[in-house]
Amino acid sequence: MRLLALSLLIASGWLSSALRSDEPGRVGLVIRFEDGRVETFCLEVEGEVTGADLLLRSGLDVVMDTASSMGVTICRIEGQGCDFPAEHCFCRCMGGSDCAYWNYFYREPGGDTWTYSNLGAGVHKAEVGSVEAWVWGDGHTPPSDDLTFEAVCAAPTHTPTPSPTATTFPTSAPTATSPRPTTTLPLPATTSPRPTTTLLLPTPNLPTTNLPTTNLPTTNLPTTNPSPADYWPFALALLALIAAALVIRRRT
């Protein structure tokens, strides 16, 4: 009986995963900072990815709290936000009248409005053809409606490698058809841990800094592995304790 129920569960999982399209595609990403500056990305994904994963793949400098009681929470993007773990992740929303944090919106494929996400970055999965948005605000202001998937991700061209684009929309521009500089930056497969995605960089004439493609973004936490020399005190201390316990055991 239990075996039957378990096999039915597994079968339904495989069936629904086969029915749902899990093919690779592209997902749009929009970041709007406090000063109104908007950055957009168009990322290649191999299936559904979580919001947090998408942020990490964009190459932005992201600080997130993965062990909080609310799941994965995004504290800081590109220096804007709270300096976790030195500060609380929602340091600008701790009570009082004003509240500002990184709001999570998404736009379904073909959808015409932004939806405030009820799930966090670690749970909500971005479908292929949707647009994800992170807005610094109080949760009531979604990004502008003209940032659709077609606007963020250029239509696929005939070239074998898709051309990733990065644009910055100044808020004073009323239309989204400003000339977009495109750069083709295929990532070398040997250095990337995920050879199916291509990271993209903002073009040099935009006021954002160039990010290295291969290194992970730096945070205030140590980004390099501690050298083995740092572990000598630990090994000595642990060995001393174990030796003391064994000696006492032998003696009494």
Binding site: A52, G95, P226, A237, L241, A245
Partner: protein, 354 residues
């Protein structure tokens, strides 16, 4: 042996890093120190014989937290395998970072358990009961009896299992646990009732001054007001940044009110202390060592928090950081074992003298 208050200082000094530092290296050092203390001082006591079952429970919890974390968190770079993404909670990629984080959490739980097991094994429960404040003395008695019943329960569980096996009972599944659990519960209940009767026959509980109905009502109303003040004060401090002063004042008022009521209720319990435990130099050393450990941990948290916290998920590195000062301070937790020969020798002399 050591004074109860110095053991309490040791417990606080060991439990605070075990609760707050989620780093496998520090957890391993605390585990080692607790094991050394137990080996030196706790093996001969009655409660110390159930150390093995505590450790087994700890291993079981440790093994349980790893799949919990690995299957529910899908962040990380090193992917082990992937489940279909539309399965409700476990769908997605299973990463090595999630497994490591689960192991680190499990190790922290195991460390907490072992620290409390070591404290339980080495402390003298009757002294601990005498050290509880007067208003808590009934709760202290209950806890003390419960703690001393645990090894008896373990022993009687073994006996029951043997007896049932002689009767031809085989343990095949969870349903066969019932013939083992029922006699255990019945025997435990019977022993508790017996103990209550003997305690009452010896006049236990008659030292409490009977209180009139008005006094109890007044005490209850006072407790309610003090707790409400504490709750409102804490909420004000947490949710409204501007009115922190009012919140702090409410917390102080509630806290002071609670302490005053506790003191009032404790006055009703008459205790005679005719054999005070002595405070030796080694107790001062152990208490000081505990204070040093706490001070170093707090200082490290204030000055270099990056060396304490361990987060295996990207973009942090995969290997945990280690602060040698904190490591050296955690070694101080094994100090009671060094001072043990003096304590054990004195206990032996006293036992011979009696």
């Amino acid at each position: 042996m050591f004074h109860t208050l110095s053991w309490l200082a040791w417990l606080v000094a060991a439990a605070v890093p075990a609760f707050t530092l989620r780093n496998p290296l520090y957890s391993a050092l605390i585990l080692g120190a607790a094991w050394v203390v137990y080996t030196a001082l706790g093996r001969s006591t009655l409660v110390g014989s159930s150390w093995g079952s505590f450790v087994k429970l700890g291993f079981f919890l440790f093994a349980l937290t790893i799949p919990f974390n690995a299957l529910s968190i899908h962040i990380g770079q090193i992917v082990l395998f992937s489940l279909p993404p539309n399965w409700p909670i476990i769908g997605g990629k299973i990463t090595l970072e999630a497994v490591i984080a689960g192991a680190v959490n499990g190790l922290a739980l195991f460390t907490i358990l072992v620290v409390f097991a070591a404290f339980n094994a080495v402390v003298d429960h009757y002294q601990l009961l005498r050290a509880t404040p007067a208003f808590l003395f009934q709760a202290g008695v209950v806890i003390s009896i419960a703690i001393t019943f645990v090894p008896q329960m373990v022993l009687s569980a073994k006996e029951i299992r043997q007896a049932q096996r002689i009767r031809g009972h085989r343990f095949r599944g969870l349903r066969d646990l019932l013939p083992l659990v029922m006699p255990l519960l019945a025997g435990g209940l019977e022993r508790a009732i017996q103990l209550a009767e003997t305690m009452e026959a010896r006049g236990f509980g008659s030292a409490v001054r009977p209180r009139s109905r008005r006094e109890t009502l007044a005490a209850q109303a006072g407790m309610l007001v003090a707790l409400l003040a504490l709750l409102i004060g804490l909420s004000v401090v947490a949710f409204s940044g501007q009115r922190r002063v009012w919140g702090g004042a409410l917390i102080a008022f509630g806290g002071a009110g609670l302490l005053f009521l506790f003191w009032l209720q404790g006055r009703g319990v008459q205790q005679t202390r005719y054999r005070r435990p002595r405070w030796h130099a080694r107790d001062t050393v152990v208490a000081l060592a505990g204070g040093i450990v706490l001070a170093v941990v707090i200082a490290a948290k204030a000055t270099a928090p990056a060396t304490l916290s361990y987060n295996p998920y990207p973009p942090n590195p995969l290997m945990p950081p280690f602060n040698p000062w904190v490591g050296a301070a955690l070694l101080l937790l094994a100090l009671p074992a060094l001072l043990a020969p003096a304590a054990v020798g004195e206990q032996g002399a006293r036992a011979d003298g009696n």
